[in-house]
Amino acid sequence: MDKPQIILHVQKSLNYTIFDAKWIPCSAKFVTLGNYARGSGALQIYEVSHGDLKLIKEAEKSKAFKCGTFGASSLQQRYLATGDFDGKMAIWNLEALEAPVYSVKGHKEIINCIDGVGGLGIGEGAPEIVTGSRDGSVKVWDPRQKNDPVATMEPGEGETKRDCWTVAFGNAYTPHERCVCAGYDNGDIKLFDLKTMSLRWETNVKNGVCDLEFDRKDINMNKLVATTLESKFHVYDTRTQHPTKGFACLTEKAHKSTVWAVKHLPQNRDIFMTCGGNGTVNLWKYNYPVSRVAKDSDEVEMGVPGTVQLVQNTVLSTQPISSFDWSPDKEGLSVCTSFDQMLRVCIVTKLKTLG
């Protein structure tokens, strides 16, 4: 038993559909977001203490919450940014949940995904939030600017609008560099460079892209993982971009069903967890190739994909795992939610052995 094990610490059944759970940075608490059967939104704060989950605070809002992030908030404030079914993006002070500190009706339809950068000491530069919606647009928000997005990436007039399922920040290693990656229901992955406001790279993985994540947001882009609807995920080495071939890619089958989410271990970017529609979670380790760069016939550099190694494959539930979040403060501690309305806090042991 030298390899990492996934151990259930505590679980709890809730009376609403949980879409997202996020650890509150620098605490033993996390937030859950979801949807009551009556259509209203649930926001609850739990604390892990003495082997149990303690409900600390809860609030019910008129619209169901779909997703949330702390990524654009300072460590002191730890404001939660959420996206809801109505297309509204709001920022909440968890100390005072009565009214949001920032609220904007950013999209015409449900906000599927949200990500933040520039806060928590992660990512250089201004704090920004990106949201992706069913209305096909991806919008970047700066909490300093009310009402209007600071950048919008949307299909032009008359173009078909694809449902944007996932967004992720990356490449924020200097105050000016920053990228947003967006995944769509038709399998499109688009990487936008916010510095130059251009489409830097795009590809199509033939299957709806359920989740995207950079291994780290605040370094020169290193790896990008994209999970898809039909039991596959792709790992892109984003260090080296070939002018025509783009990024080197590794594809792996997993879960035998939709891969709902991917989350990189905050303490080690080469370890990540994928969550399956069949209720399993898989722990992966990425191994770099001997040389990450090769040259093609024209002496142009291109990336070389590495390999992934399945470290652990564990069944958590019979229902899809809708979200998963590593604790930023405690290596191996995680919270995950599934569509059987269960909340689980798990511990992955011996992660250090993976080095």
Partner: protein, 1168 residues
């Protein structure tokens, strides 16, 4: 039979022969794919249920391919109950600790809310932009709109014939395509992430958090073999929270990059913090081994073994070290045997040190000379060359012996080799004379800089080899020192004769050119002939044994057998390595070996050697250059660029380095975008300046090549600082002031060191500096005229400084003297072909002169040098638009002309347009407005207006314009001179300033042009003044547009105009507000200045524009503004009289809105 039949078929699913479903087959099968198929069949149970066979198959597959996907199994979710007790307890305990820790941290963090809340550090501005996704890609909404309305712009007839309009139009668009073709490429070799994190405003817990995160990043980068990146992140972590672990990790990363000394420094720190840290000891041992300090390495490893006797790594390392030491001993013994016998051991050592170097010298030279005497003379000739081409020279001599990469060597070396006889030498010297004359002062400075280094070096050498001196008799104080050093040089370095000769050549050159430099004459006096010959004498005595090998190496290298040469150098290096006093030669040998590596394509090896060489002697041109080359070949452009720049700093005349920088610049700007310089900046500064100073302190040794008698260097050394600073400003024009600061301490130092320094020499350079900084200061304050004067002084003091020309050009542009600006830029470009600033400013100037095509050429050139320069791109776009318009108008005019040729009436009009073109007048806006005003008469007038302006401008600019004006006359005559004359007369006064303004503002000021006749003179004058003293043509200042008349918007708009010198803009702003709103808009922000400005607006704009009623409204409402009472109480006398006059005027104007009574009331309010 039956059995056989059973096994004959194939399975349904994968067509596997039945007999493969068999224990025997499966156990033997090695085909993983096939096994997987079998397993699948078995698992499907289509052929029956064989659990044992399935297991067997699985285990076989496990053996062959443990990572096979088929073997993946779901594990159930364990709960804590499934764990061992100890494990469980551990886990529980861990979690408990953690949650209590978290509570503490949380309470800490909660403590200081306000810091981040209030104004966040310096965050980048809020971005804005959109990307529109289309079927075939995406469009950024930032893309430039092309101007839909093409405006006519007149030109001279003759020009129409010359230019193929269509072709030109095509040409205009050409560069666009090029830019588009460029593709994005992510760069692996990143990233100038700053090495330090600004920890301001972070609490301790946050710092710790961040430090840990940076360390994690470092670890990750290390794991993916990005050692440089790892070092960066470790450094960042250390800057936040210095921990032993981070230092230790960084040490390991340094080991990986063969940065031994830094690794040692880091491990030292670790061991200070944690004595007995095994890893640190081990790492330090490895580093010492890397540096070939085997004894120290051994000591460290032994320490490790004391703590952990079974440490395998340590054991291995120890073995290796032992092997190495044995080899060393062998070679060491050989050295002793080879060397002078009869001497004492210690002396022997010293001698062996010296022999190779000396041998090198004689070795190379002896290829062509018979006697050592001659040899000495040769070195004289060499140094003669050296004098003439200082920068290059330095390198040459340093490496003359071994250097054989002739291809890239410049003629200097050829010359060296070519000097066989004295006569020839003299010849070259003479021929070189003029070159010297032209030498730029900064060169002298550089030379002296090197001399300072050498001096300190010499002092060191002196100490080291004191015992060797016994052979030498000592004479009077100065010559004594001289002789000593030279002697030491001869013994220790091959290059000392050169040094001695350099002095001579110094004097010679001084004689030749009779320069004003006092010190050269001093040198002359100091240098006696003896000294020159002395080295020669001593070289004879020391038979160079090590040098034999080196000579062999050199010849091998020259004959192209680089691999063998490399081996020889290895030998030499191993011979020299243990000698502390041989750093110079060792460095040299490393550098030479690097050359071999370069030739054989072993680039990492070359880099390593250069590093070693530079480690011994920093700021050495040759190894730097080689490393740069190696880096460049390795496509690591950033370090290559840094090295090239480093070389240039040391020696700005290195053509190779110049070319290299250019190449790297190109690559970097392609990779990193226009801001690549920011990325390079940081590492650039530190290696250049800081170690430089250390070098002067005497810690680092400089190659003795530059050695020079103290007397000579004394006087010159003082020049160093200033010239150095100048040089640096030259090289990085972008931050002249910043860099200029740095050398000053050096100057102080040197002064302190040598008090006998004649101060005379300093003055011009000092003056230069002061004038320049003064000028820069004026520029900052927008006092361009004063700045120009300062720069003029600079030029007289020290001509030939690029920065001065570019700066002055800026001032000229600002003061609306494009012609002069252009001249200055051209001058600057003469000095530095690719000076970005000069190019840009010349383009601007040319834009003002309306020679768009030339301007575009400049910008094209600029964009070649710096393809990501966004300012240039914008300017290009602008110029292209102008140019396009000009061309379009030309086209139109041609058509016009032809169609109306016969018509008399049209003659008149065409004549006018002809004149227009003749005068070159067409500023875009002028013509634009001309077009817009519908009536013919209006057109006429305006046209004339523009023409007038032109000539006015030309007059200002003086002679340069004469051509244009003559042209205009010619054009006018062709058409219809009469009209011109008349119009000129009538419109002269009015048109004078107004069009200038239009041209300047470069915005369509339709309303204003429409009322230009009405426009009052004073305001126009004012605006003209404003324009000249401010604002480039491309950066107009206009009154901000108010979307809503809210107090906030108004006040911020008001404040934005603070810098404008006229009230015109305030007037524009006030016009946007209804007088009735003034109270709400100003709210309680009224102050004296504002009141004053408003009254001025009224008197200078409202009233002359006949807006008496509005002014009354304005004033009346103003008096209701809160705080008005208080503010008006403090009006100065002058302000009061202003108000008084306004009132008087108002009174005299007839109005329906107000009566004299009202005015009286108003007077009361204003207490006048």
């Amino acid at each position: 039979m039956d059995a056989a039949r059973v096994f004959q078929g194939t399975t349904k699913k994968h067509d596997i022969p039945m007999d493969h479903l068999d224990f025997g087959y499966i156990k033997e099968c090695t085909n993983v794919k096939h096994l997987e198929k079998i397993l699948r069949v078995l698992r499907s149970k289509e052929e029956g249920f064989y659990p044992d066979l399935e297991n067997c198959c699985e285990s076989r597959l496990q053996d062959l391919n443990p990572s096979s996907r088929l073997l993946r199994k779901h594990d159930p979710l364990y709960s804590k109950g499934d764990l061992d007790r100890t494990e469980r307890e551990e886990l529980d305990h861990d979690l408990k600790n953690w949650s209590s820790d978290m509570k503490n941290i949380e309470s800490n963090i909660g403590g200081q809310f306000d810091i981040m809340d209030s104004e966040d550090q310096e965050l980048p501005p809020i971005r804005s932009g959109n990307i529109t996704l289309t079927a075939d890609g995406a469009k950024s909404s930032k893309s430039q709109k092309t101007n839909p309305n093409k405006k006519a712009l007149p030109r001279e007839y003759r020009d129409w014939d010359k230019i193929d309009v269509e072709k030109e139009l095509e040409k205009v668009d050409e560069p666009d395509h090029k830019v588009k073709e460029r593709t994005f490429i992510a760069n692996r070799e990143v990233t100038n992430i700053p090495n330090k994190i600004d920890a301001k405003g972070l609490s301790d817990s946050e710092k710790l958090l961040k430090a840990n995160r940076e360390k994690d990043k470092g670890n990750e980068a290390f794991r993916s073999n990005d050692f440089k990146e790892a070092i960066t992140y470790y450094s960042r972590s250390i800057s936040l929270q210095p921990t032993a672990a981070s230092y230790n990790n960084r040490a390991l990363a340094y080991l990986k990059t063969s940065d031994w000394q830094k690794a040692i420094n880091d491990t030292d720190t670790v061991l200070k913090l944690e004595p007995g840290n095994v890893k640190a000891l081990l790492r330090r041992g490895t580093a010492y081994k890397g540096l070939k300090k085997l004894q120290k390495a051994k000591a460290d490893i032994n320490d490790v073994l004391k703590i952990e006797p079974n440490n395998k790594k340590a054991q291995e390392l120890l073995e290796q070290i032992e092997k190495d030491t044995q080899e060393k001993k062998k070679t060491g013994r050989r050295m002793v045997i080879e060397d002078v016998d009869g001497d004492e051991q210690t002396e022997n050592l010293a001698n062996t040190d010296s022999t190779p170097s000396q041998g090198d010298n004689s070795g190379l030279k002896s290829t062509k000379t018979d006697s050592i005497d001659k040899n000495g003379e040769k070195s004289v000739s060499e140094s003669g060359d050296k004098k003439d081409e200082n920068p290059v020279r330095r390198m040459q001599i340093e490496e003359v012996d071994s250097d054989s990469d002739k291809d890239d060597e410049n003629e200097g070396e050829v010359l060296v080799n070519g000097h066989v006889s004295e006569e020839e030498r003299n010849k070259t010297e003479i021929s070189n004379g003029p070159v010297k004359d032209e030498q730029i002062v900064s060169d002298v400075g550089k030379e002296s800089e090197s001399k300072i280094k050498v001096e300190t070096e010499l002092e060191k050498v002196e100490l080291v080899s004191e015992d060797n001196n016994s052979k030498e008799s000592v004479k009077d104080s100065q010559s004594d020192k001289l002789s000593e050093t030279t002697k030491n040089d001869t013994e220790d370095d091959r290059s000392s004769p050169v040094a001695a000769e350099e002095v001579k050549s110094d004097t010679e050159s001084a004689e030749e050119e009779e320069s004003s430099e006092v010190e050269s004459s001093e040198t002359e006096a100091v240098v006696p002939e003896q000294e020159i010959k002395r080295p020669v004498f001593y070289m004879k005595e020391l038979p160079p044994k090590t040098a034999v090998i080196k000579e062999e190496a050199t010849t091998l290298f020259k004959s192209g057998q680089y691999g063998e040469a490399c081996l020889k150098y290895n030998k030499v290096i191993s011979l020299l390595e243990n000698d502390e006093s041989q750093t110079v030669n060792l460095s040299l040998m490393f550098s030479n070996r690097a050359a071999c590596h370069l030739k054989t394509g072993d680039l990492p090896g070359a880099v390593k050697d250069c590093n070693a060489s530079l480690h011994l002697i920093p700021h050495c041109v040759k190894p730097l250059l080689r490393r740069a080359l190696a880096y460049e070949h390795l496509e690591r452009f950033r370090p290559a660029y840094i090295d090239y720049r480093h070389v240039l700093l040391l020696d700005s005349r290195m053509d190779q380095a110049h070319l290299g920088t250019k190449r790297c610049q190109h690559m970097l700007s392609q990779k990193d975008g226009p801001r690549w310089r920011e990325k390079v900046h940081l590492p650039k500064v530190s290696p250049f300046e800081i170690p430089d100073i250390i070098g002067l302190d005497g810690k680092s040794t400089a190659p003795p090549v530059f050695s020079n008698p103290p007397a000579g260097s004394q006087s010159q050394s003082t020049c160093t600082s200033t010239s150095q600073s100048k040089e640096s400003t030259n090289q990085s024009v972008s931050s002249p002031s910043k860099k200029a600061e740095i050398p000053t301490p050096v100057a102080v130092e040197t002064k302190q060191e040598k008090k006998s320094v004649p101060q005379l020499k300093l003055t011009p350079k000092e003056q230069f500096e002061t004038f320049k900084s003064e000028g820069n200061e004026y520029v900052k304050q927008s006092k361009f005229k004063e700045a120009i004067e300062c720069y003029n002084k600079c030029e007289t003091v020290l001509p030939g400084q690029v920065a001065i020309y570019t700066n002055r050009a800026l001032c000229y542009i600002r003061t609306n003297q494009p012609k002069k600006a252009e001249e200055d830029c051209s001058e600057a470009l003469k000095l530095e072909k690719d000076n970005v600033k000069a190019l840009f400013r010349r383009a601007q100037a040319r834009k003002m002169l309306k020679t768009y095509r030339d301007g575009i050429e400049d910008l094209k050139h600029l964009l070649q040098v710096d393809p990501r320069n966004s300012a240039a791109k914008k300017e290009m776009e602008l110029l292209k638009n102008y140019w396009r318009e000009e061309l379009e108008s030309m086209k139109k005019n041609i058509a016009d002309l032809q169609s109306k040729k016969d018509d008399l009436a049209s003659k008149v009009s065409s004549a006018q347009s002809g004149k227009q073109t003749g005068t070159h007048s067409g500023t875009q806006n002028g013509t634009q407005s001309a077009k817009k005003t519908g009536t013919q008469s209006g057109k006429q007038k305006r046209r004339m207006v523009i023409q007038e302006v032109e000539s006015e401008e030309e007059e200002n600019i003086d002679k340069g314009a004469s051509k244009a004006s003559s042209e205009s006359k010619a054009g006018g005559k062709d058409a219809k001179p009469k009209v011109e004359v008349i119009n000129t007369e009538t419109n002269k006064k009015q048109s004078k300033s107004k069009p200038v303004k239009e041209h300047k503002d470069s915005k369509p000021v339709n309303s204003q042009t429409g009322s230009s006749k009405k426009g009052s003179k004073p305001s126009q004058k004012k605006s003209a003044i404003k324009e000249t003293s401010q604002g480039l043509p491309s950066v107009p200042q206009t009154a901000p547009k108010l979307d809503k008349a809210t107090p906030y918007e108004f006040i911020s708009a008001w404040n934005a105009l603070k810098n404008s010198e006229t009230v015109k803009l305030y007037y524009d702003l006030l016009k946007q507000i209804k007088p009735g709103d003034i109270k709400t808009v100003i709210s309680n922000k009224l102050d004296g200045a504002m009141l004053n400005v408003i009254t001025r607006c009224v008197s200078e704009h409202y009233l002359p524009n006949g807006e008496g009623e509005t002014s009354y409204e304005l004033l009346r409402n103003l008096s209701t503004v809160p705080r008005f009472k208080t503010v008006s109480m403090f009006m100065s006398q002058k302000e009061k009289t202003d108000v008084q006059t306004v009132m008087n005027k108002l009174e005299s104007l007839p109005s329906k809105i107000y009566s004299p009574e009202d005015i009286k009331q108003l007077r009361k309010e204003y207490s006048v």
